[in-house]
């Protein structure tokens, strides 16, 4: 005991001094200085590419705005870190960025439930790629109010679910089966499907929840599920799983000679090239929905995409980069409309009143009740063509 005391005392005393020295920091960013924006995204882990796209898109917008003179003359300071898809680390980063004066938190695409809940608890606006919208933003279902402080510009599981379900109702006379992962992501997709199915007075012939390896990218053995889907008589199956599992599913049914089974994907299937790379020729025919703006990119988006490739060593842009880019410009507009006010309440009020913002991902709006920008009207059904290497529109 005696030996350790001097060291421990010195350590504790130094800590105390150091910490009292910075006591009292935190709270909103002061007027006139930099505007701090926090970013949280999972850039490591098997699906870290999504997080990288989110950070890149955000950084690009921040750099542009700063180069053009900032927001009302104030520069944006973008602080971000990898949450490693871990709720604890995400919570710690959230609190850290808030105490560094962040006026809003962007993300996270990997720990959306965490940032959304903390945004409400700490009354800090949460914006951008908050998971994939859906149940992350509306925790009690699509008919209940959203988190008051969370505004998702992200891909929206409700929208994709409802859009793909509409197509399936029209094109799958034999019945529809669904496999989904058990997170808010998969359950959000399920809720989207249910909305359209309920409206049409239909139901799944088979639906099952599958535990996925989002962290490691390892595929799950789906042999038993494929058999049950075949037994159910479904002619279409929605595989709301990781791109890796979707690819493995397509290859497995090709091996089994189940060529007539129509396979439907989700918003991540075509958000980047992971699925098409892995699935190879067997991926041909996969059906999903894509942002109409990405199916028919206008000149502005094409220019932006080229600029993105140039900035990030030829990395292919995708919707997650685009919608994160939009989020920063939305924040800029909201602050400017409030004459430079960056207190949380002003930003929240501004976001709630956002109408027809002209973004890369389309015309974006929020209201008190609607905290996701993307709805099914902004989507187009597409099918992967292995020959043309393109997601071809099928409407």
């Amino acid at each position: 005991m005696k030996r350790i005391i001097p060291g421990a005392v010195a350590l504790a005393a130094a800590t105390a001094l150091a910490l009292t020295g910075c006591a009292g920091d935190g709270g909103g960013g002061g007027e006139g200085g930099e505007i701090v924006v926090g970013g949280i995204a999972g850039t490591t882990g098997a699906y870290g590419a999504v997080g990288v796209a989110v950070i890149n898109g955000t950084q690009m917008a921040v750099d542009e705005i700063n180069a053009a003179g900032g927001i009302d003359g104030r520069q944006i300071k973008f602080v971000w870190d990898d949450d490693a898809a871990d709720a604890t680390k995400s919570s710690q980063l959230f609190q850290q960025f808030v105490s560094e004066g962040a006026v809003a938190i962007l993300g996270s695409p990997d720990t959306g439930p965490t940032t959304a809940a903390l945004g409400d608890q700490m009354q800090i606006p949460v914006l951008g790629a908050v998971d994939d919208g859906g149940l992350t933003v509306y925790p009690n279902g699509p008919d209940e109010p959203p988190f008051a402080w969370t505004f998702s510009t992200s891909l929206n599981t409700f929208a994709w679910g409802a859009k793909i379900a509409d197509w399936a109702i029209a094109n799958c006379p034999g019945g529809l089966a669904m496999l989904h992962d058990p997170t808010t992501y998969g359950l959000g997709g399920l809720a989207g499907f249910q909305m359209s199915l309920d409206a049409a007075g239909k139901d799944f012939v088979y639906v099952e929840s599958i535990t996925e390896n989002w962290g490691s990218g390892a595929t799950v053995n789906l042999d038993a599920e494929i058999q049950k889907i075949v037994d159910s008589g479904a002619d279409c199956v929605e595989v709301w799983l990781t791109p890796g599992d979707e690819a493995a599913f397509m290859q497995e049914i090709a091996s089994l000679g189940l060529d007539d089974l129509v396979v439907l994907g989700n918003d991540v299937t075509n958000a980047d090239a992971t699925f098409v790379d892995l699935a190879g020729p067997e991926g041909d025919g996969m059906i999903s929905a894509l942002l109409t703006s990405d199916v028919y990119p206008n000149e502005r988006l094409q220019e932006w995409q080229q600029k993105y490739r140039d900035l990030f060593d030829g990395l292919e842009p995708g919707p997650f980069a685009e919608l994160s880019y939009d989020a920063v410009y939305i924040l800029k507009q909201v602050i400017e409309d409030a004459d430079g006010a960056t207190d949380p309440e002003s930003i929240r009020a501004g976001l709630n009143a956002l109408t027809d913002f002209d973004g890369l991902t389309g015309s974006l709006s929020f209201t008190e009740q609607i905290h996701t920008t993307i709805n099914k009207e902004q989507l187009t059904m597409v099918q992967w063509s292995f020959d043309s290497k393109k997601w071809e529109p099928i409407e």
């Binding site: 005696k2 005391i5 504790a12 105390a16 910490l19 009292t20 920091d25 850039t43 898809a85 608890q121």
Partner: protein, 608 residues
């Protein structure tokens, strides 16, 4: 001198406490960012300390701590949410709940030890994870926010800062005080004995199973307590409580330094703070993290504490070079053969009436149909030295293990000082006046000779286990430990071990000293019957004469001694009576002179 040291350690403790409070205050007044890093690190400190308590001290490598942690965290969040229970009421509730689960888990896995204890607890964590992630009432994989910790009143808050930081500090303090108290208590050598020398501990009256379950329950309760505080700090999702978290905790303990005061604390801080201090590209950060792991453990296999010791060593040497201190000479090997110090005066322990020990009609087999002992009788007269001999595999050790309660006979009776004990387990023997030693000395190698000897007094001092969690705070406990050390020192003296040996670690002493230490710990509680299992193994001629001398002095005090030996000369020279067994059957028993001339003995054993 000792009084001054004691006062110093009190002052040290007070200074440490003051520094802790000052540190807490500093954190409580700082920003959210620092608070979230420090408080979460503090939670991992509690968990690592609690894990070290079972892994380091009793050798139970639990991988269940993440699950127990989850019980605390989710218990607090969910009970507060659904039943609206007060957060302060929830603290004892979740501690008891996690403790009970720990006790059940411990009791269930008692029959599996070592690695399989790790596996059972590992599966427990997996099951907790599955329940948390698949149930809607736990909010599934989505997770949940915890309750908000009540803030201080405005005026107090202005001075003290954020309340939850103080709450975390309080539970950290509780965990550290408990763990450090146990390490300073008379229970600590006992725990290490349970870990390294379980039969020895049991022979000294330690109910080792109960101790293991109890310590695991205590550790589990601490993990629950950590969960309680954690629930206020961050968003909870099942991923935080997976088995990887359990492995991480073990990593924290090992990288810091297992079974040390500061090790688990340093390890927890290093692992949990690392990503916030080393702010580089996340991929590179992981590479560096892994390299740090490997480097620390390869260069300092004892962990960060080893690094600390190294630096402390430099500093001490640097100071010593400036002012040469009156360094005590290291004890010379072989000092054991020095003249024995006189016995502490003691009255004969038990009135010399009747037989000290009577085992009759003993039958035993490990596997049905393959008897190891058949109808063996052995009666030991009080106050005699009784030899037990037989060829290898004849069943001597089995017979001794039956007498000392390590094994239980299928048939037969054992009377010890007139009481029937054949149905009682080995930890009950000291209460009936029986102590024993083991063939190969089984002691705790990493603690000193003197502390090892105090284990022999376990059954004579009340409530050692119960008081251990606040030991240094109890004047009575400190007094008891002092007395135990004094009696142990006297016992060591009586077997001829000079005081210079007392602080030496067992792993550093020669074999003879180890044997004598075991002998000392078996006589320190002044048993009336003493069983010595091959006490001469590996001893030199001088040392053997020394042991013989000790035995005769013990006999003179009225102690009944049973000696198992291969050295028949020693047996026939020093024993009053001798029992001979061969192939599980009694050959003969009686006065040494008669046995020596018995034809069958000469034939089967002496080979004449």
């Amino acid at each position: 001198m000792t009084g001054m040291l004691r006062r110093h350690s009190w002052i040290g403790a007070l200074v440490l406490l003051a520094a802790f409070i000052a540190g807490t205050w500093g954190v409580a007044k700082s920003g959210f960012g620092i608070q979230s890093i420090v408080t979460v690190a503090a939670i991992y400190v509690i968990l690592a300390v609690s894990l070290d308590l079972v892994a380091g001290t009793v050798g139970l490598y639990s991988l269940g701590h993440a699950g127990l942690f989850a019980i605390g965290a989710y218990g607090t969040s969910l009970l507060n949410r659904y039943l609206d229970l007060d957060v302060f009421l929830l603290l004892p509730i979740v501690i008891v709940a996690a403790g009970l689960v720990g006790a059940m888990l411990g009791a269930l896995s008692l029959r599996v030890s070592g690695l399989y204890f790790a596996i059972t607890t590992f599966i427990f964590t997996i099951i907790v994870y599955v329940v948390l992630s698949n149930s809607s009432w736990t909010f599934g994989l989505q997770g949940t926010t915890g309750p908000i910790f009540p803030a201080f009143p405005v005026a107090t808050g202005a001075v003290l800062g954020r309340s939850v930081v103080w709450a975390v500090a309080a539970v950290v303090l509780i965990a550290i005080v408990i763990s450090w108290s146990i390490r300073a208590s008379a229970f600590y050598p006992v725990l290490l004995a349970v870990r390294d020398a379980e039969p020895y501990a049991r022979a000294n009256g330690v109910r080792s199973s109960l101790v293991k379950v109890g310590i695991f329950a205590l550790s589990a309760g601490m993990a629950g307590m950590a969960g309680w505080a954690f629930s206020f700090l961050v968003y909870q999702s099942p991923g935080t409580f997976g088995w990887v978290a359990s492995v991480n905790l073990l990593v924290m303990v090992i990288i810091g330094g297992m079974n040390t005061r500061l090790g688990p604390i340093l390890g927890a801080v290093l692992v949990s703070v690392f990503p916030f201090v080393v702010k580089i590209d996340p991929f590179w950060q992981e590479v560096v993290f892994g390299v740090v792991f490997v480097a620390v453990i390869v260069f300092f296999p004892r962990g960060l504490v080893g690094l600390g010791d190294l630096i402390a060593g430099w500093v001490r040497r640097a100071i010593a070079r400036r002012a040469p201190a009156d360094a005590t000479e290291p004890p010379e090997a072989g000092a054991a053969s020095g003249a024995p110090t006189p016995d502490p005066e003691g009255d004969p322990v038990v009135p010399a009436e009747g037989d000290a020990l009577a085992a009759r009609g003993i039958r035993f087999s490990y596997v049905p149909g393959v008897p190891v002992l058949q109808d063996v009788d052995m009666v030991v007269r009080r106050g005699t030295i009784h030899g037990l001999i037989g060829p290898n595999g004849s069943g001597k050790s089995t017979l001794v293990n039956l007498i000392s309660g390590e094994l239980r006979a299928q048939v037969g009776t054992i009377e010890l000082n007139g009481a029937r004990v054949e149905r009682l387990s080995s930890p009950t023997r000291p209460a009936h006046g029986l102590m024993r030693t083991f063939q190969s000395a089984v002691l705790v190698r990493e603690i000193p000779v003197l502390e090892n000897t105090t284990v022999g007094l376990y059954s004579t001092v009340k409530h050692i286990a119960g008081r251990s969690i606040v030991w240094p705070l109890l004047p009575g406990a400190r007094r008891d430990y002092r007395a135990m050390r004094e009696r142990s020192a006297a016992a060591l003296g009586s077997v001829g071990l000079e005081p210079s040996w007392h602080p030496a670690l067992v792993r550093d002493v020669p074999h003879g000293v180890e044997q004598l230490t075991q002998l000392a710990s078996s006589i320190v509680s002044e048993p009336s019957v003493l069983i010595l299992d091959e006490p001469l193994a590996g001893l030199s001629g001088a040392e053997i004469a020394h042991v013989a001398d000790i035995l005769h002095r013990l006999k003179a005090r009225g102690v009944t001694i049973i000696v198992i030996e291969h050295q028949t000369r020693f047996i026939f020279d020093h024993c009053d009576d001798v029992t001979v067994i061969a192939a599980g059957e009694l050959v003969t028993s009686g006065p040494a002179a008669e046995v020596r001339t018995n034809d069958r003995v000469r034939e089967v054993y002496l080979g004449q």
